[in-house]
Symmetry: C2
């Protein structure tokens, strides 16, 4: 089995590690425009060898795990090269633009659009970890546009690394993911900004911040290079979520200004059922 990973970061690198563990006979090739990442991936044993796009003609799998703006450019080129038995998948956090970009490509049936809902706030080959996808959801879009035999091979791979599958329309994906992922990132980044701007003497933050602050701001460690194109591609949905979030925060502030503490209590109490929603997340499999 020949597997090519284009972009060996957190997601691509973690897939490489799981594939190598589960398929000792597989050769995993890395393709990365960042030479130091490529070398790091080789040294860490995340991939077996370096390759270039011309090599992928007889690949079994091509995994495209690059920032979503780069994916729009690279995916058509990858499809131009691959043979008829290659399944190509892409793992970005927006799905409508990438589906649109290859909608009329003659090898559209060699491609499957996926979004594995898995990750950490870290990036690069050193962020790759085994078992990242165990118990996580993989959202697949426009599955009917992928050749049946290639679908099957991709699904077998996703299941072998522990993922459960959900099928979704790409526009619905982009709309929902704006709420449960993209907004969380902006919320964390702007919380970090607010606190950093205020607390010029950072020692005050070190000393007073507890695990609650850390949890809420964790995603502000994320890579701007990865997230800027996501926000760009999902602009309309993200702006809508931000407007609703800002409106909810402003309403809460008004309640406080007006000393309406009964309403503030009710606001919080009605959101408390997020407990069951989060527990439901863990119960899922």
């Amino acid at each position: 089995m020949k597997v090519y990973i284009i972009g060996i970061g957190l997601i691509g690198g973690s897939m490489a590690l799981d594939i190598k563990t589960l398929n000792p006979e597989a050769t995993v090739y890395g393709i990365d425009s960042n030479e130091s990442h490529m070398q790091e991936a080789l040294v860490l044993g995340v991939v077996d060898a370096a390759a270039s796009i011309e090599d992928i003609v007889d690949a079994d799998f091509v995994i495209l795990s690059v920032p979503v703006d780069v994916a729009l450019v690279v995916l058509p080129k990858v499809l131009d090269v691959v043979g008829k038995n290659t399944i190509v998948f892409e793992v970005g956090s927006t799905k409508a633009p990438i589906c649109e970009a290859v909608s009329n490509h003659p090898k559209r049936r060699n491609f499957i659009a996926t979004h594995p809902i898995a990750g950490t706030e870290f990036s690069g080959p050193s962020a790759a970890i085994k078992g990242l996808f165990e118990g996580k959801t993989n959202i697949i879009c426009e599955v009917e546009r992928t050749a049946f035999k290639l679908q099957e091979r991709a699904l077998d791979l996703f299941k072998s690394i522990g993922m459960r599958i959900r099928y979704m329309d790409p526009n619905a994906h982009d709309k929902h993911i704006a709420y449960v992922s993209h907004l969380s990132h902006i919320s964390a980044f702007m919380l970090g900004k607010t606190v950093i701007n205020k607390e010029k003497d950072e020692q005050d933050i070190f000393d007073m911040a507890g695990s609650g602050f850390e949890s809420t701001v964790r995603l502000a460690k994320s890579s701007p290079a990865m997230w800027t194109p996501i926000f760009k591609q999902n602009k309309i949905q993200v702006v809508e979520t931000l407007e609703e979030y800002i409106s909810n925060l402003s309403h809460f502030k008004d309640l406080l200004v007006n000393d309406d503490y009964d309403a503030i209590f009710e606001e919080m109490e009605s959101v408390n059922r997020i407990k069951e929603i989060l527990n439901g997340m863990h119960a899922k499999t």
Copy 2:
């Protein structure tokens, strides 16, 4: 050693557990207006026996761990009763109002105002855990107003359960804590509200939400009964933090509306140094 815990929840209960572990000869009494919490604390072994405020006259320690509005009413009554060798401390998330409330109390020197920066999003006696305070910061306000011998006894206790001490003016405490704690809670509650309101079919949240959303929204599980009076007591500071947070979010939204992705990249990149700040948090001891 006789220790009385008034309000046996996450903080008071966790202190009780650590004190019992470190001082097998100590008797820890619980006082709680919630009868089912009292019974639960006895069954779980968080406290040794139930007591009432009249009993605390010969206490060595009285720990007041109740919502901050209740503390304002109960602390003067506690001080009315205690003997001259009793040290009373209170652990709420606001410090100026409680210092003010007992500023002129004849037994002010029996009281030490503290804020242990420790906790989880859970509450009640069943939330009590051993070792909660290990490596955490305890902020002490107006230390000079506590009798020297009683200060010493309180500090020995805090150090024995693993806390490091920081001294701070109560107003400075309330101002800083609004940024690094109170704002995080509102941010999480309103993020939860935004997503719940949008996603009527909760299964979509279960399926698409990952660990990032969970981390950002975790504090929205917190107790409204505990947090409403905190926001009330720290209203002016909290409103200020909220205004700055909303302004930062609105600015980010405007950058997105205006397609200024270079500026969006820079916004995120400049907040990325939260990594070092959070690492600094873990390095502290």
